[in-house]
Symmetry: C2
Subunit: 333 residues, 2 copies
């Protein structure tokens, strides 16, 4: 038996397909369709195991009840958690999520945005890689509801949600300075990414306020490709330059750095701070203080704004939301 359509139900019951559609979409109150007819329709739909065909509905209504999500890499626990929260909130509103990973490539990113347009997603959530302004502006021109998360891009008329990146790394760096550290390494990937850049700014600001120089040997910007290798090399540079402490700009950088650091006998004598607090730190047995990103809230605020756009196509207010993030010490609540 082929798939059951509204027409099949209508024919079986001897009513019009309009009636069936109205009942199944619970619009029968308005048009006051007979209670008995409505009941008959509902019963038949269940018996015949009817499932609406969203392709047809979408073609007609222009809505898909689907959101698109582009992260850098869904297998990065930070993004996976974000995706999970977004999934939950979207599901509560009757939406499903389609995801894609950009691997920080603007080419892949653009492809994903095109696919999402073709699949008529009702809104898009995006962690923008470097050089993605063009693709983002295309979405803006097409009036696709859009919110950036984790990284806003200044100057673009697009809403974004992120933590206070400057503040977070400023605070963390100050913790090290207060404890007497003088040679503080900064480990990050691609320092050109808007959020990483801000994290660098916070580090720089803290050093400057104490009148300390920025030693460029202590600032490592590691590319996304050949990540392990590059981290290893960067860590060697830092050790060779006699650091007493390190700022990790992200979870992934932190974990990979610690793996690399295990090759050095005295790495546990250094002091560490990190933006993000992956579970790995709980076990690392090092002196580390973290900023925990409010991932759930990031997801909530993102969808709050996105749904405002989706539900009211005329709504055009652009918000640049900055959330405060909290200091935590891994393993000690």
């Amino acid at each position: 038996m082929a798939r059951v359509s509204i027409k099949d139900i209508a024919e079986k019951l001897g009513v019009s397909s309009a009636t069936v559609s109205l009942v199944l979409n619970e619009k029968d109150k308005d048009s006051r369709i007979g209670k008995e007819v409505a009941e008959k329709v509902r019963k038949a739909a269940i018996e015949m195991n009817y499932r609406p065909n969203m392709a047809a509905r979408s073609l007609r209504t222009g809505k898909t009840k689907t959101l698109g999500l582009i992260v850098a890499d869904i297998s990065n626990p930070f993004f996976a958690k974000l995706a999970r929260h977004i999934e939950n909130i979207a599901a509560d509103k009757g939406y499903q999520v389609m995801f894609g990973s950009s691997d920080e490539s603007s080419i892949k990113f653009e492809k994903l945005t095109h696919l999402f347009i073709e699949k008529n997603v009702d809104g898009i959530i995006v962690v923008p890689p470097q050089d993605s302004e063009g693709s983002i502006m295309e979405l803006v021109k097409r009036k696709v509801p859009l919110v950036l998360v984790d990284r806003g891009i200044e100057g673009l008329p697009v809403s974004s949600i992120q933590i206070d990146n400057v503040g977070a790394s400023f605070e963390l760096t100050n913790i090290l300075l207060d404890r007497g550290c003088k040679r503080i390494g900064f480990m990050a990937y691609n320092i050109n990414l808007p959020n990483i850049k801000k994290r660098y700014e916070g580090y720089e600001k803290a050093l400057k306020m104490r009148g300390l120089p920025i030693d460029s040997n202590l600032v490592c910007s590691v590319s996304f490709e050949n990540f392990e290798e590059n981290v290893k090399r960067a860590i060697k540079t830092l050790i060779d330059n006699d650091i007493d402490s390190v700022v990790f700009a992200t979870n992934r950088v932190g974990v990979q750095s610690l793996i690399a650091l295990q090759d050095y006998v005295d790495y546990k004598k250094l002091k560490y701070v990190s933006i993000d607090n992956p579970d790995e730190y709980i076990f690392a047995d090092i002196d580390i203080t973290c900023i925990a990103q409010p991932v759930k809230e990031l997801g909530e605020r993102t969808l709050d704004i996105l749904f405002k756009y989706i539900e009211n196509p005329k709504y055009r207010v652009v918000e640049y939301v900055t959330l405060q993030a909290n200091i935590v010490i891994p393993g000690k609540e």
Copy 2:
């Protein structure tokens, strides 16, 4: 300007929409459309920034170029990695992935399958929770291409890919036994899940082969809800029962157990084995040996089979694929 359609291009160029469609779908070779016309069409499509409307195409062709993926929880790193590999392979074939987390609930699972049917996904990949046989059989009846991953369900006519779960935990348990362990705890969640059940069987088999009794106090089956709490309690039971070693049945169980174990001074004197090797183990500074699941291969084999079904609707061969998994020691390549 509203979205550009094939008709818009056709009108602008003074050709029929059939011609435009044929050219844009590269079916112009067959029908031998004039080279100049084809070129004109292609140029206009680019100029006008045309994007096909997949809802319309899907309605017509019945294909969406979208796959559905249901895992237990996308924020679990094992599933996130699996999702990532599936995303990559699917993208190479021109497919995108829609995901959902079941939280091990058969209700949520069923809802997700219904949504996927409504959205006309071309195929579904599923990590089935307990009591999901009914929903799965509905998919089978609807002839939706379907593959189970991580956990096959015996008796169902559905292809599945998983590691040799019995073998993996048998091997791991033997490692402990060979090293003189006598009181081996088994930490798992829901032992009724097909894969966990097999992991338990491997543990049981190893003990029996040495003539050792199964002490039910040492076998912990922890539910998915209130996970942290339950793990804490289970670990206390194990410690109270004087274990000398533990088998962790999954990454999540392992990590959460180790967090709980940190409350006990001597936990580093125990010996551990685990199915899965999360990064956390690298830092835990304990005696642990793992089975690393070949996640990438799991993804590949899953899609190999799924695409056979998708590409040939008459193909009905059911495969039950078991992959071998390898022993690794975290942090030591």
